[in-house]
Amino acid sequence: MIKELFEHKRLIYELAIRDIKLRYRKPFLGFFWMLIIPLCTAIIYKILFSDFMHASSGRYPFFIHLMTALLPWAYFASSVQGATTSILGSKNIINQISFPRYLLPISTVLANLINFLPGILVLIGFLVVFHIRVSGLIVFLPVVILIQTGLSVGFALAVSSLQVIYRDVEYIIQVLLMALFFLTPGVYTLEELINKTNPLFVKIYMLNPLVGILNLYRIVFIGSYVNNMPKEINFLNTIIIPVLCSLVALFVGYSVFHKYKSRFSDYLNI
């Protein structure tokens, strides 16, 4: 399969570019929307949580705390959500041309990855503006992105194939993503959670691979973060769990896809 993926890298790229072009061709501001949306979201959340509800993130501005969570989160959520309809929405292609169907969800993830990259530059820009020392660990950023991409591709493969047959998947995913968003330290900080809830819940909470991945992002971006982390953040739940989950997701996603793909042609056109 890896070999096949490599053979079709051109097609994946073309499909991803198609996704992005379709999204940004018409609007006047075009590709700037890629930056404007997470920025605006961050500003809204900052006003809501930090200024009204007095949430705080200690040694670095709350705005940076939000940005480091929202950008990767947007990448994950829009990958999975976009992938649900990636097969169903391309039925005119599928009906007529034979190519590996899994290229469609994968290209959706790739499109969102491309969408995500300029956001990183903006984030680094803000770090500079807020006089925050960028961690030397930033060299590991590609690894962190890779882990998250693996997780996204796994989910994308599973939901895109399930959606063809069970059309409820789209809505279930919508609800699950919303729940998952509030189960990751995005609009609040980990310290707050640890202080306010019981230790058992915190233990379970830390098993969420997205918590680990968000922590990884903060570790590689924010210079002082790694030295001031609460003791609940450990090697296991920041690195081992995300990597394992991402591998398992890839495997399960591929198996699910493989299992259902033969039934696509029956269900696609109804």
Binding site: N95, Q96, I97
Partner: protein, 580 residues
């Protein structure tokens, strides 16, 4: 070289019928219905496409053309069978797969070509040719949404043909363009043909099929019902269209479609029952010399006489004589009511009735006769002797075969071989019902049934002409052993009873076409299946076969029971009733 080969390909679709809606309208879904609520859009498709061959696919709407094209193009997986493709397939179905209205023509070329499997540098190389062929000019940089349908089609066609391919699969969209563009398409296709590329075209435009194709296949209800030279297939198609018109007027509604095929009471054989107002005293059999016997030769004249005594006066009654094979297979059971004969009022005296067969077309073996005097509606018998008259038919037995029907092969050829010695051992096929085996060296391409008008059909009338046409290939590698190979065709009842089989020598390598003719197929109503095989008597096995895969139905205006209609006539002497 074979580029594409479809081997018993079938494609099943879910029907997704809404139960609520179904109850409102009593739509009857016929033949293709499968057990699990799915239906077969295609079944038993055998096609092989040679290099440089142009294949036409014709058929009515919904006959399975698009499904077939999609399967060859690789867009649709098969539900059974296999498809072997050696080479690249390019498909041109519908207007440009994956075309995006928001994109310019240029972007769409790149996207569409990548989807078709082209590499970036390949696209760059042919890009200007594509633009030129599509005659789009400056429009190539305008969004596709602003194109006319014809422009989109031209663009799609241009991209598809500039991809490297060995087989081009297309439907009739090539006929969408204006005359000058069509002409260009045809020139391009002729060029492909010269280059040795193959094409599969589905179209309603019969002129195109006849002008362009080397071979054509006619689809109906998802099966190939005709294949061969385009002109012939087109003719069949036109006949089919006309026939459907006639059939839809319901002219066959009064025909009988099913009969009794088995003795239901074998454990009661030898007994008799009845209300005894009239009793049959004895049943005797006469051979062609008029001599009393219980052994006759296969195909000879025979007369069965039943002597009876009436104890009461009976107004309405009729006689029946049935013959069963010893294993309970119902061979034939006519009665005077089915034959539309009126009997006079019966008085209290002795009489007899006789049934005379001109030819007893039953294979050698042991059979039993039943004789009965029935009431008006065959609800009860006055007297009914159940199979208590044994008869032995003599001759060369052919194992398992029930009937000895007159037949001939349409291309006459002097043949001498002892049928007995080379006869296929049909035991070999037991447990292989509805299966088929084709090999690289021998394979069956098609099997079709023709009615008395020469049309392909699957429903036939008892007593009318019936032909089985089969095309099969024998590879040259078998040339040496050719004189030992035989084509065998067998007709089975749908419950698996072997009715009749015949065989002939295979004389040449390559594509063979044989037509088996039954001048009067006397099978009675019901479902039948046909098996074909290439028998190698030396190896004592079939090199290729298709066993019970193809089916046809018999219908009749007679209500006789059994399997075969035998020419017969009745005679009787009925004592006059006493006038009161």
């Amino acid at each position: 070289m074979q580029i594409v080969r479809l081997n018993n390909v079938g494609r099943k679709f879910q029907k997704f019928i809404n139960i609520d809606e179904l109850s409102d309208s009593d739509i009857g879904f016929k033949s293709q219905a499968a057990e699990d609520g799915a239906f077969w859009a295609l079944r038993n498709i055998y096609i092989s496409i040679e290099e440089g061959e142009i294949i036409g696919i014709i058929g009515r709407n919904g006959s399975g053309k698009s499904t077939l094209l999609n399967i060859i193009a690789g867009g649709l997986p098969v539900s059974e069978g296999e498809i072997i493709v050696k080479g690249k397939v390019s498909a041109l179905l519908g207007l440009g797969a994956g075309f995006q209205d928001e994109f310019t023509g240029r972007e769409n070329i790149y996207l569409n070509a990548s989807l078709l499997g082209m590499k970036r540098h390949e696209i760059d190389k042919v890009f200007s040719d594509i633009v030129e062929f599509s005659e789009l000019g400056d429009f190539i940089n305008a969004p596709l949404g602003s194109y006319s349908a014809g422009m989109k089609m031209r663009l799609g066609f241009s991209v598809a043909i500039y991809k490297e391919f060995d087989v081009l699969v297309t439907d009739e969209i090539i006929t969408v363009g204006d005359i000058s563009f069509q002409k260009k398409c045809f020139e391009k296709m002729a060029e492909f043909k010269r280059q040795g590329k193959s094409m599969v075209i589905a179209a309603q435009e019969m002129g195109l099929i006849q002008r362009f194709c080397d071979r054509a296949f006619l689809l109906e209800d998802g099966r190939i019902i005709s294949s061969g030279v385009p002109a012939e297939a087109v003719e069949q198609y036109e006949m089919l269209l006309n026939k459907k018109k006639i059939l839809s007027e319901g002219s066959r509604s009064y025909m009988v479609t099913e009969t009794k095929r088995w003795a239901t009471d074998m454990h009661e054989w030898g007994r008799r029952e009845g209300t005894k107002e009239a009793t049959i005293k004895e049943t005797v059999i006469f051979n062609k010399w008029g001599k009393k016997t219980n052994r006759v030769k296969c195909g000879e004249k025979i007369k069965i006489r039943a002597n009876f005594t009436a104890h009461e006066e009976i107004d309405v009654f009729h006689f029946g004589i049935a013959i069963f094979r010893e294993d309970g297979v119902y061979c034939y059971g006519p009665n005077t009511q089915f034959d539309g004969l009126a009997t006079a009022r019966m008085g209290k005296r002795n009489g007899y009735f006789e049934l005379e067969y001109n030819e007893l077309l039953l294979m050698p073996g042991v059979y039993y006769f039943s004789a009965a005097i029935w009431d008006k509606n065959e609800t009860f018998a006055y007297d009914y002797h159940k199979c208590n008259c044994r008869i032995e038919v003599m001759g060369d037995p052919v194992f398992g075969q029930l009937l000895s029907l007159p037949y001939n092969w349409s291309n006459l050829r002097f043949e001498m071989f002892s049928n007995k010695k080379y006869l296929p051992n049909v035991d070999y096929l037991i447990d292989k019902w509805e299966s088929h085996v084709n090999t690289d060296s021998t394979c069956f391409e098609s099997l079709t049934f023709l009615n008395n008008y020469g049309c392909r059909d699957t429903v036939f009338v008892t007593g009318k002409e019936f032909k089985i046409k089969t095309d099969f290939k024998v590879d040259k590698s078998l040339g040496g052993s050719l004189k030992h190979l035989f084509l065998w065709i067998g007709i089975y009842r749908s419950d698996g009873i072997y009715c009749h089989g015949c065989m002939r020598k295979i004389v040449s390598c390559g594509l063979n076409s044989e037509i088996l003719v039954y001048p009067k197929l006397r099978l009675l109503p019901g479902g039948y299946r046909v098996s074909v095989g290439i028998w190698d008597p030396n190896a004592n096995r079939f090199l290729a076969y298709s066993h019970g895969v193809h089916s046809f139905n018999m219908i009749s205006d007679k209500k006789d029971h059994g399997t075969v209609y035998l020419d017969h006539h009745w005679n009787w002497y009925i004592p006059k009733g006493e006038v009161v």
